[in-house]
């Protein structure tokens, strides 16, 4: 694959010569897309240049159906907006180069924390990182998506009823690939429709998978990059807030919820309607269940042999269906 990447770089950088690509290695953890790190060197205008890069390529199948250029476009649009993200270079939709669409971006410094680690996944900096985590999310919510050219995102032209649009999306995805129907998820979907949440103060850019494990941090305890924007859309900012506190990967392990929300409110300038949190908690559990269902279907159909996807379908699927049932029990569904 290294020579093919070098050939592609030559195609995109006609002024470059002596292009070499090496140290290519697939990074464990990317499930929606295949993620590779690599080193690239070339000479341009007499100058020798070396870059550590990340290549994100469409997976044959994954956890979610991602729009191919979505993540690249979001990174581009959010450049200079105060959100820690990698710089992106090339988006390629033509499969002739690497069999499937891909894009290339900078390898950011730092490493991800493992949200499932029993120890501090942030090397003693968990509280500071949690505060920054909430502040970045607040800054994201404050951005006018239309002003940065993200009106084309899902729900980008809507002004209200984001909860309903998102329910429609996840229910449709579920119906596409559910081999044995889960009445608990269907029951939760009906409950969510019968009990709509309050409307958000403003539409916001929703990351869609904003959580522990989807950002990098550096040894000095700072967040260096927010990653994995494949599910980005426009909606109610509470969706990301609640997703981040989901008990499968809770950022609230490191900072109490109210302190986190205070950081978010200070950064966003938005007063959060806490009455809406409960609705979005159930929504998050349903959304996660649909994602794991997609994972299971991808594995069963043979579209992927990725063990992350198989285990997600099994373990995480059970976890979130159980959570849906627990939340419904708390709502009195079981008497």
């Amino acid at each position: 694959m290294e020579p093919r990447i070098a050939k592609y770089l030559a195609h995109r950088m006609p002024g470059a010569s002596q292009i070499a690509v090496d140290e290519l290695a697939q990074i464990y953890g990317g499930s929606s897309q295949q993620t590779y790190r690599l080193s690239a060197r070339w000479t341009e205008y007499g100058e020798e240049i070396e870059r550590r890069l990340i290549l994100r390529r469409d997976a044959p199948a994954g956890l979610v159906v991602a729009e191919r250029d979505l993540e690249f476009n979001v990174y581009k649009a959010l450049e200079g907006q105060g959100i820690a993200i990698p710089r992106v270079y090339f988006l390629e939709l033509d499969a002739q180069w690497l069999d499937r669409p891909f894009f290339i971006m900078d390898l950011c410094p730092g490493k991800p924390g493992n949200p499932f680690s029993a120890d501090d996944p942030y090397d003693g900096h968990s509280e500071a990182i949690a505060r920054e985590f909430w502040s970045i999310l607040g800054r994201l919510a404050a951005i006018d998506h239309k002003a940065v050219g993200l009106e084309s995102l899902r729900n980008g032209t809507a002004n209200r009823l984001f909860w309903s649009l998102e329910l429609d999306r996840w229910e449709a995805l579920l119906s596409e690939q559910e081999a044995v129907i889960e009445p608990s998820i269907r029951g939760a979907l009906r409950w969510l429709r019968r009990n709509p949440p309050p409307e958000p103060a403003k539409p916001a850019i929703v990351h869609g998978d904003y959580r522990s494990g989807n950002f990098l941090f550096t040894p000095d305890g700072r967040i260096s990059a927010i990653l994995d924007w494949e599910m980005c859309h426009v909606g109610d900012p509470i969706e990301d807030i609640v997703w981040a506190t989901d008990p499968f990967w809770p950022i609230t392990r490191h900072l109490p919820l109210e302190e986190g929300l205070a950081c978010w409110e200070a950064a966003s300038g938005i007063a959060l309607d806490r009455a809406a949190l409960d609705w979005w908690r159930l929504f998050a559990a349903v959304k996660a269940s649909v994602i794991w269902n997609t994972a299971e279907a991808s594995f069963i159909s043979g579209q992927t042999s990725d063990m992350t996807i198989a285990l997600s379908g099994i373990r995480a699927g059970h976890f979130h269906r159980k959570l849906v049932l627990k939340l419904m029990r708390e709502k009195g569904a079981m008497g």
Binding site: A25, Q26, I27, Y28, A179, V180, I181, E182, P183, S184, R186, G187, R190, D306, M307, T308, A310, L311, I314, R315, H318, R321, K322, L325, M328, R329, A333, M334, G335
Partner: protein, 144 residues
């Protein structure tokens, strides 16, 4: 013949974990192999009672559908009563899953009607369906 699926799958998992995994140098491949051992163990633990579990689930759903038929009206009532009298088409897991899907669809349909009613009988039946769904989920918990 005493050779069976759980035994074979657990054996392959142990081989992968103890002999092959330590020899894998590539970090990505090693992680995939490690997770494969978990998938194998969970699958092995599911295999032995896969049919028994599904037969029991389908019977429990049929029993509730039969009771729900008495609360439903018209065509739905007829279909619920008919499903309550039905039997599993075979003991293959694929056959039992297909039957489970058919019965669960009726459960979803009846629950969607029951939960909109305000009478005690409908509420009680709806709650019993939710409790059964919880029991089913817990009985299918993955075990490593």
């Amino acid at each position: 013949m005493n050779f069976n699926i759980p035994c074979a799958v657990k054996g392959v998992g142990a081989l992968l974990r103890d002999r092959i995994l330590p020899e894998i140098g590539d970090n990505y491949a090693a992680n995939m192999a490690r997770m494969a051992t978990s998938v194998l163990n969970i699958s092995a633990n599911w295999a032995d009672n896969a049919a028994a579990l599904r037969v029991a689930e389908n019977a429990a759903i049929r029993a509730l559908l039969g009771e729900a038929a008495g609360l439903a009206q018209g065509d739905l009532s007829d279909r619920l009563a008919e499903a309550a009298k039905s039997a599993d088409p075979g003991l293959r897991v694929s056959e039992l899953d297909a039957e489970s899907h058919r019965l669960r669809l009726l459960l979803v349909e009846s629950q969607a009607v029951l939960e909109l009613r305000d009478d005690a009988a409908a509420r009680e039946m709806d709650q019993r369906i939710w409790r059964l769904l919880e029991e089913i989920e817990m009985s299918r918990a993955p075990v490593e």
